[in-house]
C-alpha cells in the first residue's frame, strides 16, 4: 500500500520551492531582457548585457581581483586553518574545549562588525595596502569553513596511522605530509571550495576594505547599480551564480554534497 501525501503538504512544498527558485528565474530573465532598464518578464531576448559585462573594464578588473582574493584568501586561510584543525583533532583531550568555538567566531560575529573593525585596525590603523587588507579580511572570513570542514575529516582520522608511519622510520613532520594530508584530502578540497565561494560572493567585509583603484566584483556591482539600473547587473549576478553552481557541481560529482552538511 502506498501512502499518499496530503494535498496541503504538496502545495506547501511547491510554494517553498517557488520561493527558493523564483528570484533566480527572475534574475536570469532580467539579464536577457532587450531593454535598457531592469524588468521582468523580459521584453525581447538578447545576450547584449552579458557582452557588456566583459566590455566594461571595471567589471573585468574587479572580476580578476575577486578571483585573486578568493584564491589567495582561501590559501592563506588553509595555511593557518589546516595546522589548527590538526592540532585540535590530534590533541583533543589536552586542549581546552572552547578553542574549537573560537574558530567559528568569524561566522557568529556579524560580518559588518568584522568588516568595520578590520577597516579601523588593519586598513586605517596600520596602513596596510588595500589588497593586503582585503586578503587578510577574506582569509579571516573563510577561516571557520577551512577549520570546520578539514576538522571534520581529521576527527574521523585514526591517528594510529600516523604513529604507524613514524614507527616505520618516517619523521613526524614528514608523516603529516605523506600520510595525514592524503587521507584528509576530500575535506581540504571541500573546505577550499566552500571558502572560495564565500570569498567570491562577499560584500560586507569587502565594502569596508576596498578603496581607490581596488574593488571586488560584488562591490563594483553595487557601485554600478547606483549609476545605471540596466540589465548588466543581472548579467553579472547570473555569471556569479553560474560559477557557484559549476563549482558546487564539481563538488557533488567528486565528493558528494552531503560532505558539506556533515
Amino acid at each position: 500500500m502506498q501512502r499518499r501525501a496530503h494535498p496541503a503538504l504538496i502545495a506547501f512544498a511547491v510554494l517553498t520551492f517557488l520561493f527558493l527558485i523564483g528570484p533566480l528565474v527572475i534574475i536570469v530573465g532580467a539579464a536577457l531582457s532587450d531593454t535598457s532598464y531592469l524588468t521582468f518578464p523580459p521584453q525581447g531576448l538578447t545576450l547584449h548585457w552579458f557582452q557588456n559585462v566583459f566590455e566594461i573594464s571595471a567589471f573585468k578588473r574587479t572580476m580578476i581581483t575577486s578571483f585573486q582574493l578568493a584564491v589567495g584568501g582561501t590559501a592563506l586561510s588553509m595555511a593557518i586553518g589546516i595546522p589548527a584543525a590538526y592540532a585540535m583533532a590530534r590533541y583533543r583531550i589536552e586542549l581546552p574545549r572552547f578553542l574549537g568555538n573560537v574558530f567559528v567566531l568569524p561566522i557568529l560575529v556579524p560580518e559588518i562588525v568584522l568588516g568595520f573593525s578590520l577597516m579601523k585596525s588593519v586598513a586605517v590603523g596600520s596602513g596596510v595596502p588595500i589588497m593586503g587588507a582585503l586578503l587578510l579580511g577574506h582569509a579571516l572570513l573563510v577561516l571557520p569553513y577551512c577549520v570546520r570542514v578539514v576538522g571534520a575529516s581529521l576527527n574521523s582520522f585514526d591517528f594510529s596511522i600516523e604513529e604507524a608511519a613514524v614507527s616505520l622510520g618516517c619523521p613526524r613532520w614528514k608523516a603529516f605530509f605523506t600520510v595525514v594530508l592524503p587521507n584528509v584530502k576530500p575535506g581540504i578540497i571541500a573546505g577550499f571550495i566552500l571558502a572560495f565561494i564565500t570569498s567570491l560572493n562577499d560584500v560586507s567585509i569587502s565594502i569596508f576594505l576596498t578603496g581607490p583603484g581596488v574593488s571586488t566584483l560584488p562591490i563594483q556591482l553595487l557601485a554600478h547599480m547606483e549609476q545605471f539600473f540596466d540589465p548588466t547587473i543581472a548579467s553579472v549576478s547570473v555569471l556569479l551564480m553560474f560559477v557557484t553552481v559549476a563549482v558546487m557541481a564539481i563538488v557533488e560529482r567528486t565528493l558528494g554534497l552531503t560532505f558539506l552538511t556533515k
Partner: protein
Amino acid sequence: MTVSLDLSDVTAHYGNTKVLEDLSLHVAEGELVSLLGASGCGKTTTLRLVAGFLEPTSGRIKLGETDLTRLPAHSRDIGLVFQTYALFPHLSVRDNVAFGLKQRGEGRAARQRKADEMIERVGLAGFADRFQANLSGGQRQRVALARALVIEPRLLMFDEPLSNLDAKLRVDMRVEIRRLQQINGTTALYVTHDQEEAFSISDRVAIMNAGRIMQLDTPEVLYSRPANLFVADFVGFENVIPMRAVAEAGDAVRAEIEGGGMIDLPKQHYTVPAQEFVLASRPEGLLVDTADRTDGLPAKLGLRTYLGRAYQYQCDTTAGPVKANGPLGTPREEGEIVTLIPQPEQCCLLPREAK
C-alpha cells in the same frame, strides 16, 4: 641480530596522574613477553613509552646497547602492530608493506621485491594491488604484520592486535604471529587483556595492575604458582580461605581455618609462607568428599550445577562461601555436610595481604 629490551625504573605520568611506577622489565634476545592486565593497568602506556610516543618521567629504556629513552620515535627501529591495524588507506597492500623500506632509502625494485616476498609469507599472495577497503579484518592484520616484519626491526611490538577479530580468527592469527616472530627470532613485546591469548604464545607473561608488574614468569608457573593474591585471582584461584598455622602434626602442618575448624596440610605439597596465610584454589582444586576426613575443610553444600566434566557446588564454610567440584558418579544434595579436600596441584598458599 637479536637484542634484548630493558626497562629500568621507568615512571610515567599523564598530567598529574602517575600511570607507571618504577617499572623494570627485561625481555631477553628473541623472547616474546606479554603485558597482561585490565584496561588502565599501564600495559599500553609501557608499549607507547618503548615506541617513543610518550616520554617517561624518569627511568631508562634500552634496546641492546642503544639508549632509547630520548631517541625520537622514528629512529627506534621497532615494528609496531596496532589494534586498529592502522594501514595507510591511500596506499595499496604492496605500498603499505614497502613504506618502511622506502623510509630506509631502499631502491624501488628492491623494496617491491621484499614487499612481495613478505606479502606471500603472511599468506596474502595475489592481494598486493588491493587497498584496505577491499580486505577483511584478518587480511588487514596480516598486512600490518607484513609491514612491521619487512623492515626486520630489532623489536616487534603488538598492541592488542587481535581484539578487533572474531574468536575463530583470533586463534589462527595468534599462532601465525608466534610463527612469524620465531622465524627471525625477533625480540617481541605483546600487549593484551586476554589471558588465554597471552599464555598461549608467550615465553613469559607480566601480569600488571595499577602501573606495576605483579608477577613476571612463564605461563606454566603463573598458572599453577601465582606469587600473590592479585595474580591468583587473575588466573582463576577464586577461592580464598584465610587460615593460621598452629602446630606440627607429623609430616603435616595443622592450621586453624578462620571462623573455626582445623585442616592438616602435608609438608610434601605445601610450604606455609607465614603464620597467617591463605589457601587459594580454583573450584576444581577443592574436591567434595565425605564428612569424616580431617585433611579438608568442613562445608555445607549449596546449589549444584553441571559442568560436563564434573558437578560444581556452591558451598558454605566457616571461612565464607567457596566453589568446589565433585565427581559425576555421585551427585550430592543441597544441605549435605561434607569435607572439601584441597588438591595440591590446584591450590597454593599465599601470605595474607592488607586489603
